[in-house]
């Protein structure tokens, strides 16, 4: 990964992309040159036919061009007898032109799509390689926009805009060369409006951008009101506010219509004024041609040529102005993409170890503070999780328990002290190796937009159906999966069915079980499951993951009490450590949690006596 210092400029980056597709780009350029040349040859052919063959004037072609014709024996009289040769020649020119047009279109598409593909793949891969902390702070909407719209802006620029610029410039240059060769003064008259047309288009599109943006913004407002109404439809109905909602929408709908219409009117000015200039130029050319031809300074063929060339030239010039006013956007897009690509990824560690991870986990005076605020989250934390045992962690909000879990997967590194597994410092262990063998289940798991089957088998390349179903069985997920709309093939996640919190947690547990876990961490990952199912899952796990070192974060007494050891974390420090029996006897957080059970029993007794009293009361009265 290049360091920020030698980050290339957007223009350099763009050129580098083009260079990697130099072949197709060059092919497309050559095709464009050919198209422009042949585009000019056709009117030339017609002009020569009219002048020379049909009206008997001397040819205006230079000697070198006439020589091969003479060699073929294509004299004027010969061709006048065989006009079909010229007709065929015309068709031939069009076919050759067609071949190049096709090549240009195809090669441009190949080049620009290759570049879009490269950008998309690099962006995606880099996003996967960026560290955990990057994604914690990332603005997802903005990132997605950069990866989609900005890539598309660059693609459009390279495929359409670059070629249009090349095309327009070539047309102007070649037309000037040919026309100047025929008659310099006439040429001047024929292109006098061209700079004006170009300047107008350039100025105009710079000018109207604001109106376009206003229309876009108005559309945004309109969509937002619509969206709010539709998602709040219950509130609208419950307060009987349909009438007012209709009025509210009417306002934004009307505003959007006005803004769109304004853009439309501006466009009509562009086309209208553009047309005026175009017509003026055509008329000027025609009138001057007539005068020149009447005076005998030019032939009818030359006149045809001028009229045809000027007609061909004007449209690309209009486009040129539009395109050039747009180029700035693509450089901005490139810059935004570069910002992602140059964010530092997790560093490679070729020397890292791949130990068995089956020893004791030792926290040795571990401290941690997040880099953005520097506030200590863990302070001098030391404890041991013996290999193969189950340790429960109890801690409130802000105790640092989630951070502690992240450290175990090296999603963050301790700022002080060290964590070892079987005596090896985590910092010396290969990241993917570690994460592959430390199963971590988060409280609010993310499910992918895939079927349930694919979600459970997500960590394996080709998961066996049997293994997947077995994992779901252990995670007590088989029941609701079977009842789901399409069973195992139900699509979940953002674009599918929404599962309840407890169901998501069970899918998350099942998918983690398909990993080769040496260490398993539950970060309050059964919180949305009822206590009975919770107990059932844990019992199945104990059996299944025999010998796996397990860390469970929970606030449920039943869960905590069954652990081999309980660690209490408060405000980043370990305040208590021991078995259920030991901690129940000590005053502290654990004891308070443990008392809930008692409180419940007391309430039941209360309710019973009150009810008995009420019943007796009734009897007495009866």
């Amino acid at each position: 990964m290049p360091s920020p210092q030698n980050k290339p400029t957007p223009l350099q980056a763009m050129l580098a992309l083009i260079r990697r597709n130099a072949g197709p780009f060059a092919g497309a350029m050559i095709s464009t040159v050919m198209i422009v040349l042949i585009g000019y040859l056709t009117p030339l052919l017609l002009a020569e036919t009219i002048d020379c063959v049909l009206t008997g004037k001397p040819s205006a072609l230079p000697g070198w061009a006439l020589a091969p014709l003479r060699a073929l024996g294509w004299s004027r009289a010969y061709l006048a007898d065989r006009l079909w040769i010229l007709g065929l020649l015309l068709v031939g020119l069009n076919v050759v032109n067609g071949v190049f047009t096709y090549l240009k279109g195809r090669l441009t598409a190949v080049a620009s799509e290759n570049i879009a593909l490269e950008l998309r793949e690099r962006l995606y891969a880099h996003l996967q390689a960026l560290p955990f902390s990057y994604h914690v702070h990332a603005q997802t909407g903005d990132l997605i926009q950069r990866c989609t719209s900005d890539v598309d802006t660059i693609r459009r620029f390279l495929s359409v805009q670059v070629m249009e610029v090349v095309n327009a410039l070539l047309m102007i240059v070649i037309a000037l060369v040919i026309l100047l060769g025929r008659n310099a003064r006439l040429t001047l008259y024929s292109v006098v409006c061209v700079p004006l047309l170009f300047a107008f288009a350039l100025w105009y599109f710079g000018k109207v951008r604001k109106s376009f943006r206003e229309a876009d913004e108005s559309e945004g407002v309109m969509s937002a009101v619509l969206q709010e109404n539709l998602s709040g439809v219950r509130v609208v109905r419950a307060f009987g506010q349909q009438e007012r909602e209709v009025e509210k929408f009417e306002t934004v709908n009307d505003d959007y219509r006005r803004k769109c219409f304004r853009v439309n009117r501006l466009l009509s000015i562009y086309w209208g004024v553009g047309d005026i200039i175009t017509w003026a130029q055509s008329l000027l050319t025609l009138a001057v041609c007539v005068v020149f031809a009447v005076r005998g300074e030019i032939t009818v063929g030359t006149m045809t040529l001028f009229v045809a060339y000027v007609g061909q030239l004007l449209f690309p010039v209009r486009q040129l102005g539009r395109v050039l006013s747009d180029t700035g956007k693509s450089l901005i897009a490139m810059e935004r993409i570069q910002e992602i690509l140059h964010a530092p990824a997790e560093p490679e560690e070729p020397e890292a170890q791949r130990p068995a991870l089956d020893g004791d986990i030792v926290f040795d005076h571990v401290s941690f503070a997040y880099p953005d605020d520097g506030v200590p989250v863990l302070r001098d934390v030391s404890f041991t999780i013996p290999a193969g045992s189950t340790v429960a962690l109890l801690g409130g909000t802000g105790s640092g328990k989630s951070t502690l879990v992240y450290l175990l997967q090296r999603l963050y590194e301790p700022t002080g002290g060290r964590i070892t597994v079987g005596g090896v410092d985590l910092r010396e262990i290969d990241r993917s190796w570690l994460r592959s063998h430390v199963g971590l289940i988060l409280q609010e798991p993310f499910l992918y937009s895939k079927t349930i089957r694919e979600n459970v088998g997500i960590v394996r390349r080709d998961p066996e159906a049997k293994a997947v179903e077995h994992a779901a069985e252990i995670a007590a997920a088989s029941g609701f999966i079977a009842k789901a709309d399409k069973g195992w093939e139900t699509v979940v996640g953002e674009r599918g069915v929404t599962l309840s919190g407890g169901q998501k947690q069970r899918v998350a547990i099942a998918r983690t079980l398909l990993k080769d876990n040496r260490i398993l961490i539950f970060d309050d990952s059964l919180s949305a499951v009822d206590t009975e199912t919770d107990a059932q899952i844990r019992a199945a796990l104990r059996h299944e993951q025999e010998g796996v070192t397990t860390l469970i974060i929970s606030h449920r007494v039943t869960t905590l009490s069954q652990a081999d050891k309980i660690i209490v974390l408060e405000d980043g420090r370990v305040t208590q450590e021991g078995t259920h029996a030991q901690l129940s006897a000590q005053p502290g957080l654990y004891q308070r949690i443990n008392r809930i059970q008692t409180a419940l029993e007391e309430e039941l007794a209360d309710a019973r006596s009150a009810e008995t009293a009420a019943a007796q009361d009734k009897e007495v009265r009866a």
């Binding site: 067609g98 279109g105 195809r106 593909l117 955990f132 539709l230 307060f239 957080l589």
Partner: protein, 615 residues
């Protein structure tokens, strides 16, 4: 949402559907007629122009004179000015039609959406409805406004061109016109292919967006599962698919133009050959062939008239492909709401948009379900022969699993749905004998995830009573304990809440939504309680707000929090659409049944979290 956007493209062009749509666009028929006339004029001018050039050659140059040149220039300028006026005019009119039709469809659609029953929203995701009134509508506006422009111009140009050629030299013209049928067939075929290939590109593109979306939103999970490599491989497949689909579409487009132009050049070549011979013949014996000017006209026409053939083919292909959009929009506009007030009720109490409040009876809040059965549209039976009597002012907590029927009961009370059998009586009268708006205006409703509208806090509190005086707004906020946080904000009551209330925390949104409900002073109150986590302090505020709000009103609560449940007058435990337990908290605890089990389970959880400072 994606699944709903898949379109059915195999259908044939259904002109009936477009006629229906044109009827919707009736206010714009004069504009459309104007477009037709202007485009006809424009096409005529385009046909006349080559004739001017021909005249210039045959008159001025052949006769070597500039006599009449000023008149010629004047005529030319006249044509140009005419064309200009036409261009301004048609862009103006077509733009009017486009923006106007979009506006109209959105307006009608929005109104319809305000009338449609809840059942409709159950079937239709918001994203899908959104795209009907945005993308689909835009597409129809475009089609109706602009395709007529090209279609009309193309047709008139073709005909005028053909007539002109036939008049000049019918033998040559007939041969040239022979090229049109194969050209039209080829264009039609190609345009359809091209459109469908671009559709494939769009589909791939949405997969790319979805891919990035997941790659970014799921990045943290991906790391913990070490799935980076597999993700990258999956994405590469999609990206490669996008590349080949795009290249294929571009290749098809690149192929189309050359083939059509080459085919067309056959006609030009033929004209050059035979027309050239005619010019030579004319030179030998005048009157036996054609002039050079006429030859020029022919060549000009043969080069130009393939454009309209291509355009017409394109328009029909586009009509066919935007047909799906038209169908979706029309089906929305034509959906009939299935909860409607009878004409008698409407006559007495007014409709949704024109209420006759003066005739509304006061609502006390006694509610009875009498032998109510309910089944959803998809056939799922939720309630059968359900009976329930609630006294005015009672607070009812509904407890049960997801899908047990709690929400259905509440939705029936609100008349968001109507019973498929039996009756719901309010104050002893079947609520179908009153207007929907009457009941809605007496309802207070607080949602599980509170929905606020963009605007200020005051505007949101006023939502149900836009004319409420400021003092009452403040009193409502004070009552639910929302005032301290409101005043702590920079603009106080005038602070913007952001889209969907995004600038407020969940707890704050809940407090505002309680104030909003209190302000309308509803007789019936419905609370779909939130399970989302808020801190302990806010939790207490919300509990107080609930107590304040419920006092003296008939209330239904879909309850999740123990404190709310415990303080209800009556707890109903619902299972499979039946009431399995009914009583006060104490009674049900003593019973040690379903409620007791639910309670102990939840009690432990809530207490535990409270001790740890989490809610």
């Amino acid at each position: 949402m994606q699944a709903f956007q898949e379109e059915d493209y195999t259908k044939r062009l259904d002109l009936g559907l477009w006629r229906k749509l044109l009827r919707v666009a009736k206010p714009f028929h004069p504009h459309l007629l104007g477009v037709v006339v202007l485009m006809a004029i424009s096409a005529m001018i385009d046909v006349a122009l080559p004739m001017m050039n021909a005249f210039a050659i045959d008159h001025f140059i052949a006769e070597r004179t500039t006599e009449g040149l000023p008149l010629f220039i004047a005529e030319y300028i006249g044509l140009a000015a005419g064309q200009m006026a036409v261009v301004f005019g048609f862009i103006y009119l077509a733009g009017r039609v486009e923006t106007g039709v979009c506006y109209l469809i959105r307006k009608l659609g929005f109104r319809k959406l305000q009338e449609l029953p809840f059942a409709y929203y159950d079937r239709m995701p918001v994203g899908y409805l959104m795209s009907r009134l945005t993308n689909d509508t835009q597409r129809l506006g475009d089609t109706i406004g602009w395709s007529l422009v090209d279609l009309c111009w193309g047709a008139v140009f073709l005909v005028a061109c053909a007539v002109q050629m036939l008049a000049l030299n019918w033998q040559l013209a007939l041969v040239v016109l022979l090229v049109i049928p194969p050209l039209a067939a080829l264009s039609w075929k190609f345009q359809k292919e091209i459109l469908s290939s671009y559709r494939a590109v769009r589909k791939r593109n949405s997969q790319i967006t979805a891919g990035f979306n997941e790659g970014i939103n799921g990045a943290k999970t991906t790391k913990t599962l070490v799935r980076e490599q597999l993700n990258i491989e999956e994405f590469d497949e999609v990206a490669q698919g996008m590349r080949s689909a795009s290249v294929r579409a571009a290749t098809l487009s690149a192929l189309f133009l050359p083939i059509v132009v080459s085919l067309g050049s056959l006609a030009t070549g033929y004209v050059l050959w035979q027309g050239g011979n005619a010019v030579l013949a004319e030179r030998i014996v005048a009157g036996t062939g054609m002039t050079i000017g006429v030859l020029q006209v022919f060549i000009n026409y043969t080069v130009q008239f393939f454009q309209p053939v291509r355009d017409i083919a394109r328009i029909f292909a586009e009509l066919q492909s935007s047909q799906a959009a038209a169908e979706r929009v029309m089906s929305l506009l034509e959906t009939e709401p299935d909860i409607v007030d009878t004409p008698e009720v409407e006559a007495a109490f007014g409709d949704n948009f024109h209420p006759r409040r003066e005739n509304w009876p006061a609502l006390k809040g006694e509610i009875e379900f009498r032998d109510v059965s309910f089944r959803y549209k998809d056939g799922e039976q939720v309630l059968s022969h359900f009976n329930l009597h609630v006294d005015a002012g009672q607070t009812i907590a509904l407890v049960g699993e997801t899908g047990s029927g709690k929400s259905t009961i509440v939705n029936l009370v609100c008349r968001f749905y109507e019973p498929t059998q039996g009756q719901v009586l309010i104050d002893g009268v079947d609520y179908r004998e009153r207007s929907q708006l009457w009941l809605e205006s007496n309802l207070g409703y607080v949602l599980q995830s509170p929905h606020l509208f963009s605007g200020t806090i005051a505007e949101n509190i006023r939502y149900g009573r836009p004319d409420a005086p400021e003092e009452e707004v403040r009193r409502a906020a004070r009552m639910v304990g929302a005032e301290p946080f409101i005043l702590a904000m920079k603009d106080g009551y005038d602070a913007q809440v952001g889209e969907g209330g995004s600038r407020l925390s969940t707890g704050q949104k809940q407090l505002v939504s309680f104030a909003r409900a209190i302000l309308t002073n509803p007789a019936i109150f419905v609370l779909d309680e939130a399970t989302s986590s808020v801190d302990t302090e806010t939790e207490q505020l919300i509990q107080t707000a609930i107590q304040k709000t419920l006092a003296g009103r008939t209330s239904f609560i879909i309850a999740h929090r123990l404190s709310t449940i415990r303080s209800a007058d009556r707890i109903l435990v619902i299972h499979d659409g039946r009431i399995v337990e009914d009583g006060t908290h104490r009674q049900l605890i003593a019973k040690q049944g379903v409620y007791y089990k639910l309670y102990t389970n939840q009690f432990q959880d809530e207490q535990g979290r409270e001790i740890l400072g989490e809610r």
